[in-house]
Homo-oligomer: 117 residues x 2
């Protein structure tokens, strides 16, 4: 990628495209579900797992770590007696509400009759 030679064919230049990267982040399995679940408040690991519904713990742990790394969610370990973990959206994460809402509107409008699949 990012090789602007080849003048004849119109190669699309993906040198660094924020949209392309954003799509790559959001298109990973469970990512959008996780963000959606966290939109109504911080959750613990198992709580999040239940809210997401169907994601296995290994995958969830991996996703959550990556999203934390990307600054989309934050992980806090409360040093109370039973040490509880809490996952919450950062500002960047909260901002994804607009994306979820857009998907929501689209889904309600065009996905009401599934039937096939």
């Amino acid at each position: 990628m990012a090789r602007p030679i080849t003048s004849e064919t119109s190669e699309v230049d993906h040198s660094f495209c924020p949209v392309y990267e954003a799509i790559n982040v959001l298109q990973e399995k469970w990512t959008l579900h996780i963000i959606r679940s966290l939109l109504d408040g911080p959750k613990g690991f198992n709580e999040l797992s239940r809210a997401v519904g169907g994601c296995n713990p290994a995958t969830l742990a991996q996703r959550v770590e990556k999203l934390e790394h990307l600054g989309i969610i934050s992980k806090t370990i409360h040093s109370t007696m039973p040490p509880r973990t809490s996952y919450a959206l950062t500002e960047a994460g909260q901002a994804l509400q607009a994306v979820i809402e857009a998907i929501d509107r689209w889904g309600r409008r065009y996905l009401l009759e599934p039937a096939a699949q």
Copy 2:
């Protein structure tokens, strides 16, 4: 799923949630890239492949078939002498522009400094 009874454990009810389903559609690898590529006009298979950038033909064919099945894109085979295929967005597909735009805005705002990954 879709068992609203069970008073003991608080199972999350995903009987049919349009947002959940919409996310499931859009979270598959390459799907959003394909839709984004088709937003600026219909394309043939190889043309689409180049526009998407990096998706292998097997996956692309599979995605495109599923999206056609879901009524998001339409496939037309022009019976001209070299029979050309053309993939285009349906109305439902066009409507996803709002989602792409939301992702675009988010990406520009929060993904400018990637560094890590």
